[in-house]
């Protein structure tokens, strides 16, 4: 993407108001982190915040782009939409479920922590996602079918 030049860099009063108010709120939060989080921990928190940002920008997002492009190359235009959506939803469900499936937080002696079979749950949900994707694909194919002569 080339840098748009018509408006980029021009800022009206809302920007400066937002900067003043938002900057003050950020400063309040930063002061709280410095005062309450404990010695040495603000730097650790900053590492987590910057690290998560970089993980997304340098790894997750480019990987999604490449995978999306690969799907576009391999699959035709009618199929790729439902497949991409199903892949994205599957990835979302799996990502969200990693701490559940691994049960890192489960505690011996407390049966109410992470009480379900989450691998089974993910299998059910992912199957449902792909059945819906298949249904969408089928509906599109039916709509676009060649008329009988």
């Amino acid at each position: 993407m080339t840098a748009p030049t018509t408006e980029r860099g021009r800022y009206g009063p809302t920007f400066w108001i937002g900067l003043a108010v938002g900057g003050a709120v950020m400063a309040y939060g930063a002061r709280g982190i410095g005062a309450d989080l404990g010695s040495g921990n603000p730097a650790k928190l900053a590492t987590w915040v910057v690290g998560l940002d970089l993980l997304h920008d340098l790894v997750v997002a480019p990987a999604l782009v490449v995978v999306g492009l690969a799907v576009g190359v391999v699959l035709g235009p009618r199929v790729r939409g439902p497949i991409r959506a199903a892949m994205a939803l599957t990835g979302l469900v799996v990502l969200f479920s990693i701490p559940l499936i691994t049960a890192w937080g489960r505690r011996a002696g407390n049966s109410s922590t992470l009480p379900l079979n989450y691998a089974h749950s993910v299998a059910i949900i992912v199957t449902a996602i792909w059945l819906v994707a298949l249904g969408v694909f089928g509906a599109r194919a039916w709509r676009n079918r060649e008329p009988r002569r």
Binding site: M26, G29, F96, G105, T113
Partner: protein, 396 residues
């Protein structure tokens, strides 16, 4: 060319093509941005309420009614946070081409705007990651979760306000009816959709994003909304599973109070600003008279369930001890060393008819894990403040 070089080249080509892709234009970014803004505002306000409930300020008192208010606010906090995960990922994907724009900034104000994206994006990712880890009882952070989550929320909301101020004119333009059909791509809004880009792509993309948010919500919200329990396949807690049919946050063994709680010499002390300090056995408490209340136990982690509790009204104990009107109560339990072995009842909550020291739940004696022999149960409070294994009421 190396594989990495080829991949980078593909990403660069994708960035250039995205100018004409409705899924990456201003309108899509604006729609997702507004959705995220609403979600973060809900999470921030409900989180603030939870923080104030646990750290009372001089100007704030938890009301004693409605009884389910905290259940609502914290359920909303967690459910909204979960629904925000796909929204945030979709928004970051939609604007990813702009991250790769060149030059990086054109003047000081533009540099400040872009710099504020670091605490905004990093803060948002941190809040969602740490929040989801917390409800999953997983603590990979090397610092105290609630403190970091709370203060980072302020930083992130501040960065959001900066972003809002910068993007408000763009958002208004992008959502204007004239821009709905034809204008896409650049901040100048002058590029036209190329014929091979389907305008319906935005609708399909946003539908998929909504499906993701709805899917995660449906798969988890049953941990607090009873009729949806059967769909709660990914809920970290299940309201019907646990000792006596509902979840336990900290067991008696984990709290290290198993022997002390079962001591036959157990007594409740009522002390502080009273005319008649009391020392009461369980038989004494039953003799005072037990009352019932249907109250939710609502955890900060988002699960909640209503139970039928039976116990002694704290108001009755205060009257019997001669406590003055307007006094609060410091409740202490057997648990030592943790943050949640004690809590404070403000004057309104202490005198609510439904605030009990419960001996029974759903008709059975309290199990050890739920606070036997006595636990506090009061309306509109976080579960961690419903102190278990209560041994003392100090009137203040």
């Amino acid at each position: 060319m190396s594989t990495a070089g080829t991949a980078l080249g593909q990403v660069a080509a994708w960035r250039d093509r995205s100018d004409a892709d409705p899924r990456h234009d201003e309108r899509t970014a604006a729609i997702l941005g507004i959705s995220l803004g609403v979600c973060f505002a809900i999470c921030f306000l409900t989180g603030l309420y939870s923080h104030l409930a646990q750290h009372p300020a001089s100007w704030f008192h938890l009301p004693a009614s409605p009884a389910g208010l905290y259940r609502l606010t914290q359920g909303l906090h967690v459910a909204t946070g979960i629904a925000t995960v796909p929204l945030l990922l979709a928004k970051l994907w939609a604007v990813f081409p702009r991250l790769l724009a060149w030059p990086v900034f054109v003047n000081v104000a533009h540099a400040v705007e872009r710099l504020a994206l670091l605490p905004l994006v990093g803060g948002a990712l941190f809040l969602l990651f740490s929040g989801v880890a917390n409800i999953d009882q997983w603590y990979p952070l090397p610092f105290f979760f609630p403190t970091a989550h709370y203060w980072m929320a302020w930083v992130t909301i501040g960065a959001l306000l900066v972003h809002l101020g910068a993007k408000l004119p763009t958002t208004r333009r992008a959502l204007a009816p004239a821009s709905a059909s034809a204008l896409v791509g650049t901040e100048g809004g002058t590029a036209r959709i190329e014929p091979d880009h389907d305008p319906a792509a935005r609708r399909r993309f946003l539908t998929a994003v909504g499906a993701g948010a709805g899917l995660l919500t449906l798969a988890t919200v049953g941990q607090t909304i009873a009729p949806l329990q059967r769909l709660a396949l990914l809920a970290p807690r299940h309201p019907d599973l646990g000792t006596q049919g509902f979840p336990v946050n900290k067991t008696a063994a984990e709290a290290g109070i198993v022997a002390a709680a079962q001591d036959p010499g157990y007594r409740l002390l009522v002390t502080g600003r009273v005319t008649t300090p009391l020392t009461l056995s369980l038989a004494d408490l039953r003799a005072i008279g037990l009352h019932e209340a249907n109250l939710p136990i609502a955890c900060v982690e988002g699960w909640s369930v209503t139970k039928r509790w039976r116990g002694v009204r704290i108001a009755d104990l205060l009257a019997r001890a001669g406590a003055q009107d307007g006094t609060g109560v410091f409740v202490t339990g057997l648990e030592q060393g943790g943050l949640y072995g004690q809590s404070i009842l403000n004057p309104d909550q202490a005198r609510s008819r439904d605030t009990l020291l419960a001996l029974e739940v759903d008709g059975d004696a309290l199990a050890l894990d739920h606070g036997f022999p006595l636990r506090l149960i009061a309306p509109d409070r976080p579960g961690v403040m419903q102190t278990k294994w209560v041994t003392g009421l100090e009137v203040r």
